[in-house]
């Protein structure tokens, strides 16, 4: 059984500080939804409001259409996995998993049976009698998942549960979490500051900044069609060219930036319609590092510019080349490691270009801080 979760105009204040501001989102039954945002953006606060540890200052949390106001965490059909997992160290693994059944008065044998079933589900067969501290990090993770699933919640809430794991294990657990979610078929609401986690696991992502939900969309949408400069720069890397609109033609916008003019696509607003710009508007044009390509010659063509190489960073599968354009804009340009970059050495001038289809023009706004 899975349930739909709806946040209606949810605001959460601590004194004068608003940790969440007027958040509206509807998360479908059986969906894997992630709230993605930097630390302190209010995503954990929002999760606590769904789990019932916090009451919204304004607005409502609905689960399956039912208003949750005044219903405590022990009475909601949700289950929360804590960032530090919060397993009970003095109980065995099986007792941990079956704690919610113990609370509900199930007898010992049925508790043990259910614990064993759940251990099977998370691939920990036969580990029920171990103590929690005898398990590895990844195994503890699975015990926490099993314990949360034991109540048969309709919604599973996960508060950055993978953040303590090392990279390899984290990547493995992503795949596994997604698989478990599909097996049990319940709604997962996942909190993370790691865009990799959000993009690989989720059906949809909500990007949060400073208490506000800036954009909700599929992983592809938030990456390819960001609605705000924050989303454009928080999800993945982006190059930002500040400028003024020179001309608008259909969906195409010509932007005057420094000494040159580039053409790009008008971005999509929250209403899924292209932003309407007019000449003179202050805008930012975003171009992904991987959308830039190297030009062999210095001939000026559309959307081309020259830049000086500053440093080259090797990242395994990618090479990141950091440059400064003639107009003093910092540029990040990524190529596959196998590509030839012999002509690119620090302090050399190179010619770069990008396609107008890969440039997104958005109204000005705050960028994500790196």
């Amino acid at each position: 059984m899975s349930a739909e979760v709806e946040l209606q105009n949810v605001s959460i204040a601590f004194g004068n500080f608003y940790a969440a501001k007027n958040v509206n989102v509807k998360i479908g039954a059986g969906e894997f939804f992630s709230f993605l945002g930097p630390s302190g953006c209010g995503k954990t606060t929002l999760l606590r409001a769904v789990s019932g540890f916090l009451e919204p200052s304004q607005g409502k949390v609905l689960i399956d259409g039912q208003d949750m106001s005044g219903i405590g965490p022990n009475k909601r059909p949700t289950s929360l996995i804590f960032q530090n997992l919060a397993l009970f160290p003095l109980m065995s693994v099986a007792d941990n998993i079956a704690f919610s059944l113990e609370v509900r008065g199930h007898d010992k044998t049925s508790r043990r049976k259910r614990a064993d079933e759940l251990l099977d589900l998370v691939a920990l067969n036969g580990q029920g009698d171990k103590k929690v501290h005898e398990l590895s990090g990844g195994q503890k993770q699975r015990v926490a998942i099993a314990r949360a699933l034991a109540v048969e919640p309709k919604v599973l809430l996960l508060d950055e549960p993978l953040s303590a794991l090392d990279l390899k294990l984290r990547q493995k657990m992503r795949t596994e979490l997604r698989a478990i979610q599909q097996r049990v078929g319940i709604t997962f609401i996942y909190i993370t500051h790691d865009q990799g986690e959000a993009l690989t696991m989720s059906d949809r992502v909500g990007v949060m900044n400073d208490g506000e939900l800036e954009q909700v969309g599929s992983c592809y949408d938030v990456y390819e069609a960001p609605c705000t400069p924050f989303v454009a720069t928080f999800v993945g890397e982006n190059n930002a060219f500040y400028g003024k609109v020179e001309k608008v033609e259909g969906g195409k916008v010509k932007v005057q930036t420094g000494g040159s003019s580039f053409i790009g696509q008008a971005g999509l607003g929250l209403d899924k319609k292209n932003y309407k710009f007019k000449a003179g508007d202050e805008v930012i044009m975003f171009v992904r590092p991987e959308a830039i390509s190297l030009k062999g010659n210095s001939k000026r063509t559309q959307n081309s510019f020259s830049a000086e190489v500053k440093t080259i960073e090797f990242e395994g599968n990618l090479k990141n080349i950091f440059l400064r354009s003639a107009e003093d804009v910092d540029i990040r340009f990524s190529v596959s490691s196998s590509s030839d970059t012999s002509g690119m050495e620090p302090s050399k001038n190179v010619y770069l270009s990008f396609s107008q289809d890969n440039a997104v023009v958005l109204p000005t706004g705050a960028l994500a801080l790196d």
Binding site: N74, K75, T78, S79, N84, L87, F88, F99, V103
Partner: protein, 303 residues
Amino acid sequence: MNSFYKKNGPVIATLFLVAIIFWLVFLIVIPQLYMLDLSFRPNLPPLLRGGPDDVYTLTHYKHFLYGSETSKDAYNYVDIGVFLDTIITAVLVTIINLCFCYPIAFYIAKLATPNTARLLVLALVIPFWINELLRSFAIRILFAGEGVINNILLELGLISTAVNFIALDIALYTGLTYAYILLMIFPLYNALETLDTNQLEAAKDLGSSTVRTHWRIVIPHAKAGIASGSTMVFMLTAGALATPVVLSSPNTYWFTQLIYQWFNMNDNWSRGSAYSIILLVVSVTFVLLMMRLFKVTIGEVVR
């Protein structure tokens, strides 16, 4: 030993060693051994000590069990009665103390804001800057026939005649409970403070009631602190002197009062020593039994 000297330098290392040896040998081992030795010797005037009559004897221990040779009773009912009363009362006081301190310690450790917690700790500590004897007298004033509590109850019309709290030993229990409250609260607080608050939330999220969360998560976590606090309160209550002297009813005797009498009023140090040793051995044995029962190790208690 060599590495200890190398690590701390000769001056500091010597200071450490001298201080620790002085503490252990002169303040603990020698007095206790002396008392143990004394308890097995007859009570002789100074001139006869070391003479032919100064031989080891069980006479003082026998006195505790069977009374004086002229007594007609089979056993020393008076002293044994006082002793058992003392131990049972000390157990009760320890339990009452634990019941009082657990919620307070939990509140300070887990629920209060840092400022409130600091204020509460201060409010708990400040009264203990006052001498134990004075605190006992203050409690006596509160519980006296014409004392504050009786006056309030009379004023409110809850009682028609003053209650004799002293004769009922209510004043004594209150005084004893209050006397060592800090020694219960601080170990409890230390233990509870290390409990991850997420554990409480996790239990709640899984549907657990507050009582069950305490029973299954909080108390097991705080077990060592509970054992440590209870041990200290029990030992000190059983060995208390000032509070019982001031607060006990005329017909209640505390075992330490007997010991005091043998030492000071009857000038029988040997018998006083024997009675002290009995109290010490029984208290320690009782504590060790309780620790075995609740599966706590000494290492956990002194942590």
